[in-house]
Symmetry: C2
Subunit: 478 residues, 2 copies
Amino acid sequence: MEVGSSSHEKDGLFARGWWWLKAMIIGVVQKIIKLGQDDPRRVIHSLKVGIALTLVSLIYYSRPLYDGFGAAGMWAVLTVVVVFEFTVGATLGKGLNRGFATLLAGALGVGAHHFASLCGEKGEPIILGLSTFLIAATSTFSRFFPRIKRRYDYGVVIFILTFSLVSVSGYRVDKIIKMAHQRLLTIIIGGVTCVTVSIFICPVWAGEDLHNLVAQNMEMIANFLEGFGGEYFRSPEDGDSPVISKNQKPFLKEYKSVLNSKATEESLANFASWEPGHGCFRFRHPWKQYLQIGTLNRQCAYLVEALNGCINSEIQVPSEFRKKIRKACTDMSLECGNALKELALAIKEMRQPCLADPPVESAKTAAGDLKTTLKTAFIENSDLLAIMSAATVASLLVEIVHCTDKIAKSVHELANLAHFKKVDPTLTPEKPYLLHRGTIKPLSEADSPHHVGITIPNLPTTTTESVHLECVNNIINT
Amino acid sequence: MEVGSSSHEKDGLFARGWWWLKAMIIGVVQKIIKLGQDDPRRVIHSLKVGIALTLVSLIYYSRPLYDGFGAAGMWAVLTVVVVFEFTVGATLGKGLNRGFATLLAGALGVGAHHFASLCGEKGEPIILGLSTFLIAATSTFSRFFPRIKRRYDYGVVIFILTFSLVSVSGYRVDKIIKMAHQRLLTIIIGGVTCVTVSIFICPVWAGEDLHNLVAQNMEMIANFLEGFGGEYFRSPEDGDSPVISKNQKPFLKEYKSVLNSKATEESLANFASWEPGHGCFRFRHPWKQYLQIGTLNRQCAYLVEALNGCINSEIQVPSEFRKKIRKACTDMSLECGNALKELALAIKEMRQPCLADPPVESAKTAAGDLKTTLKTAFIENSDLLAIMSAATVASLLVEIVHCTDKIAKSVHELANLAHFKKVDPTLTPEKPYLLHRGTIKPLSEADSPHHVGITIPNLPTTTTESVHLECVNNIINT
């Protein structure tokens, strides 16, 4: 019986182990699929690396190439593995850094070797050791300069590496010039393979990523602002328990990724500056301007973060005061949201952001209205504590209006610097809200024969209504 | 005459060129000196890299070593250049990644080579090419997993590199096992040299840096808060033109570096987790807790950023209202500053942060006082606009008090997790303010025979007075 029960136990253990293993494998597979689905370019990038590496391995497989390069072919493999990055800009930057650093350090190494050989057999290792030490120490120190760190860090590492290898190997290998020549050639082959594969097979442009990231961050802030008014000024009668609803409203948390976007934006801007012109971007596209807009985006996000803290405030604002400021605050928040969405869309479509000016002006007007309301407001009960939270919200919203204005100016500057296209003149200023969803392109009379030209004098600004209008618009156009 | 004037012009040009060159050189030299003075460890690090590189070059210079390793010695040089990083943790992490990845990929490469050789002369390159492609593509994809990216990114790169080199070179070189063995050995020599130099010559510990960075960020926020009350509630009669003073008050801008500290903290925590125990830090020091404190620091900094916007507000708060909230607001800000300074000091000195509890409690009391004041406040004029900015300040300060409380709890948790030392029981709770400057160590009766034991019943909390007290304290002790 005991044997039976222990074998039962074993079976149980095996079953559990098997179940556990299966669960783990399924989990990993699901993660892999999700990672690929989130950004299919990841899968393509992986295949591209495989292709580039297999291509340079051909040096080893084909006899004529191998006879030409010999063991130096390994430098091509090494270059591909180390240089191939996700974006074209990063790959180009690393490739150029590697190429020039190798050239420079190779020449210096040969020079050092020649100079050392003049100093006799005993002096040679001393001179070489000393020069290696000096070059390594000074170059390493230069990596602490922020400007060098940002753009030439990899180049400096390769410079130290090549100098040490060439000058030191030269001490034994006689045909030093031939070796340096072979290495440089194979590194160039590796680098060119990387860059070619990176550019010609589904390229990922850092510049485009930066362009989209900045617009997307703006949109996330806009989503918060569009939703904030409704969230904060929701009266208890509106129903909809706040506990349930908050988890179902991603816009309340989405913007948080903007807070820590600095590092990503800076590295993308750096990579972008290595890229040639591509798509709608010329060679010297004003990438730095994106960083400025990004900084303003973050400033706005800090204010939004403070605003978000007010949603959870426990103190109930008296309904009388709430009513007084509700319109102005909701308008400010909504119009800022509209303006930011329009700015993001203008960036995405690379056109002048003139359509963002009316909502910015409306937001400013709303801020002015609020000031007037507050100046003439009369509080019946003197409980300042109760209105403090609402006053904070109002005050932060006014700051956000200022910030939105700054963002709009910065985007205008970008549009001028980058020569974004002028907006279609058939679009009247009354129509901007028709364009908010991003999928609808501006209409011109020519390509919309069924466009019946509805003009709505005082276009409502609330989101639901603008969605309705879009539907109408869609129906008219189909 | 013409010749004379043109030679004069030439002289002028040369003089200007020379002047320009001299100015540039002086500028660069000044920058170098500043870079070294800001953190002398940079100079030491550069020298360390030079030493390590010269040491491994010895393989080439000494005949017995060179005969043993041959050209594989270059892998030692390569390893040192690529693996040697500023902190011990980063160096160790890269070294271990490189070592294990080489071992694993070498074994796999040899296996792939053996398997391919079974498939006949025609099949061999196909099998090898296919395996290179597959390994490169899957490994590259794995680099997109955040967890792998964070800790093993370099290892994966080296894995792909070594696998390609071993399996592909093996196609030509017969003594593949010997080659793999030589390479591994030289890589180990390079890695061990790096780690040894990194640890035994003036080590830079990432853990220590993280520890200090978190404390320093807290201090910068504290500096702002300590100064804010005086800055915001300065009456016009106090003199001191705001335009001049703001540039002379670095605490108003210092805290901004906290806003973007996330990336630095995360990479330091990652490096720290590779480090062995050192100084006061055990092997498994709770580095993750520092990240949590860092996140709370940033949350506090976002509020401070919003608060900073209020300093520049143009609207003048009516003096009557200002007076009402002045005490509570100044107290909140000052006590939060005190608490954060004390917490930072406790972290730095690795002791239980109990001394921060009284100021946290005082800040909470001040927040309560503010609520009471506001509840009973009676506004004579109904101009809400004028008090809005002050209400925002008050409201943000209340949020900051909450945040400080959270930080204090998080630091307490850290102190428990990391077994920080208990506070000297001879210190009475009345004395905390004597400890604020960081240079003064807690006094015990034994080591301060001239300590006359002044007891000051209600210790003032303003900064200037605590500085005076310190001076008194210094005089007594010397």
